[in-house]
Symmetry: C2
Subunit: 559 residues, 2 copies
Amino acid sequence: MSTPPIVILCGFMATGKTTVGRALAEMLGVPFVDTDALVEARAGTSIAEIFAREGEARFRDLEAEVCAALSFPHDASGGASGAVIATGGGALLRDETFKRLQALGTLVLLEATLDEVLRRAATMGPRPMLASMDDAAAARTHAQRLHDERRPAYHRIDRRVDTTRRRAEEAAFEIAEQLRRAPDRGTVLHMRAGARPVPGRDPRPGEDGLTRIVVGRGTLARLGEWMRDSGLAGPAFVLVSRTVAGHHGAAAKAALEKAGLRNKFIEIDDSENAKTFEQAEGLLYELVDAGATRDGTVIALGGGVTGDVAGFVAATYMRGLPLVQVPTTLLAQVDSSIGGKVGVNHPRAKNLLGAVYQPQLVLSDVDVLATLPDREVSSGMAEVIKTAIVGSPELFARLEKAGKKVPLRDGAFLEECVTACARVKARVVEEDPYEQGPRRVLNLGHTVGHALEAALGYGVLTHGEAVAIGMLAALRLSVKRKLAAASFETTARRIIEACGLRTRVSEVGDDLLQAMSLDKKRRASGFSFVLPAAPGDVRIMDDVTEQEIVAAFNSTQKG
Amino acid sequence: MSTPPIVILCGFMATGKTTVGRALAEMLGVPFVDTDALVEARAGTSIAEIFAREGEARFRDLEAEVCAALSFPHDASGGASGAVIATGGGALLRDETFKRLQALGTLVLLEATLDEVLRRAATMGPRPMLASMDDAAAARTHAQRLHDERRPAYHRIDRRVDTTRRRAEEAAFEIAEQLRRAPDRGTVLHMRAGARPVPGRDPRPGEDGLTRIVVGRGTLARLGEWMRDSGLAGPAFVLVSRTVAGHHGAAAKAALEKAGLRNKFIEIDDSENAKTFEQAEGLLYELVDAGATRDGTVIALGGGVTGDVAGFVAATYMRGLPLVQVPTTLLAQVDSSIGGKVGVNHPRAKNLLGAVYQPQLVLSDVDVLATLPDREVSSGMAEVIKTAIVGSPELFARLEKAGKKVPLRDGAFLEECVTACARVKARVVEEDPYEQGPRRVLNLGHTVGHALEAALGYGVLTHGEAVAIGMLAALRLSVKRKLAAASFETTARRIIEACGLRTRVSEVGDDLLQAMSLDKKRRASGFSFVLPAAPGDVRIMDDVTEQEIVAAFNSTQKG
């Protein structure tokens, strides 16, 4: 057995450091240490008292002393070694404390949404840092300010686990997986959106309903290893187009065989007009012929069409086989491979036949993007920009900083983009797996985008190009409504152009309106439209008229 | 607003009386009262002490005194009225206490599996009734004996909620629904197996993932009302065969319209050989033509084929519409409508294309069974007997007691059967929604049954007849292996015969073996076979050979 680890949990208030810490300590079989408790013991009084009588600085002094005194035998001879240490929410503000803890063991940052933090804080009794807040709005503003202050310190920690919507045991499981992560295995994110248990595997405590999302460079070589990690040890049926197989088939096969996984490659047609039930039916029969049973796994190796069709096959064959998405386009890596939407079109209705079916594993290797044509990378960047606007001010700032030279062929940059987008997407999907409400923020730019695709005829614009133009129309409308600052629109336009995306199309006028009306007919109730207010702050509005949208679109086209 | 209720929670130890009681009190906005705490206050010492020093009898005396003294103002003038009262696990043993509590308010019995009770008791610290138990086996035996002693008292309570695998808030929600139940609305059972949230509905706390199962007489007239209760207020698309529509279409339509639900009836072919993708495809197009959007609901009104096909259509149309199962055959009411298995056949593979898709509502009206031919009722009884053997010793005893005159046309008897079976099925499905393991106990009799159907050619035996013969083969094998007493087999055979089911078929021999081998090929790993040990105690065995099964089958056929 390996040496028991020393894990230091940091994070903002109410992110679960104590409860998750206890669960993790139990899972790892090591003692649990709470520095707050050590501080109280040293001071002989409660933390609330220390804050009230001597102020925060005194508390931080005591905390630093306690952290400096922490010591655990590292070798096997010392008996009990290893520990889980929960620190105070602000412990890392002192550089000496940060360095001391970093030298001691592995730092893991716990995160949670501000809503969740405030909700938990409200039910957990008074907190010293929020003690004087007597109404909810003031508490929120104060918490937000505190969090912003600490962001730089938190940002120094590489391993992170979001505890929003998780039981302690689930978060502990995710941390245990982070601890096992070697740097070259990529970033592991966890999405809890109802993935099915793997047949024949007794899920480990906290593993239920989990989708693992792995993002990295060269991660394709570890496909088989990650599958075994996820309990997917049966025969693998790889659905892949001839083109993608030519580029990455051999690497995928080698990765599966290295992990001792039997595999069979089945060819799929990944052109947009082959997203049909007829193709899905043919693939189902191929699975029958190949003797696929419920211990098999379907791997979708390719772009969006492959993910949709192969996902639908996995969702329905024998009522569902485990599914692994290995997206090979930027668009699929940042968007379509995460979230479980699968399906096929019918001439009379897009995605007529489909399912929400979560994969057990999504493995994105950004190195495979090197084989894509420029236009496809640019097109994928449209969804990157959309995701930044929807949920990642950090990524938006990163894109802004790139100026006119967005390094579309730089692996490290792409890894950063895909990781950030996967994080946002996973969080949004978790909140609303079946797109009942909040998940609709991801439709930013898509109402106009879809209408443009339909009005111009499919194939004139790529999906990403259409979405980029749609986003600009939405931004213009936000500015007109004084929801967003004009500078936000300007910056977004600059980023879109820097990614090599077009912002103008030839005249569409009435066709656009008609296409939007048709789209509206397919909705359950009314018309909702996503308007961005600021990076990370978008709103779903139901009072937007089609005329208003067309006017905004037209004005973006005039300059 | 109606008068706040007085609810008395009873039940065995560790069934959640206190935690669920607190959650329910909060949900109803009434105070929570714990009789154990009142007893401790009255005695001035802990319950453990009372047991240790003065014995259980003294504790029961105190408990009776406390219950007799309970009093709450019933009218609105008295200010605070209404309460949730948690009683000690053995409170109902005294008839005076039972009657006192019954007069005070509504009794609700909390139940949980013995495994769950022991697991909770282990983590909740010492319990007085298990205090002297120092090993797990002794604790189990003791708990089982205690529970058996109390069963008659518990049996007097009509409203029951199973708390196994539920959070306190979820169980509280289910109790709140039980309280709203009027006698003529039928029995409401709750299954938590991952039903999706209803689009556009904010689920009430504790409602997430819930399937409501309603069983009663005349309940079809309340279909629309139950749908509204479940949040299904959009247009209803009723998929129904011409025959079933002739019998029950008007009643279903009237029930929907009484609740103000728009509805459209769509004809389905419910013959076994129409369970095809072609039919499903046609129905999907009919939904497109009818303008169905995500706020619509699919209602499957009919037997097993209708449930399977309509369920598959609901599962895949626009990635899933809410689903209501209204089974009209005994087989569908006791088995196929509950559990979410939906799908269509392909000439080359049964249920090739399918899903596990939980309905939001299952509504079984036993009065509709009056229109069924005798052979179909008998056939359904085979699944009733199977379910009794799998999980309901009470129902098995009831069937045994009926002797040679099982009242197959008696509404009250059928209601009892369907309710008991739905309870067992819901519990088994909850434990294992995707049939990874435990749910396979429901396959009792089905390995031989399916093989018989295949060997004789479909249509010679009904499914139920084949399963009955399969069960007898399994029972014979259990007796041969000394797993079950010979009397169990004899009783089961007597019940099967009393239900009008045949127990013999003409020679099949080698064909049976071959059919089983084919069946085996479709499995993921090996061969598992369900053997009954006693009513309510069946085992999944993986060491049974096909030869052994055929020998057992042959010996049942010889006499």
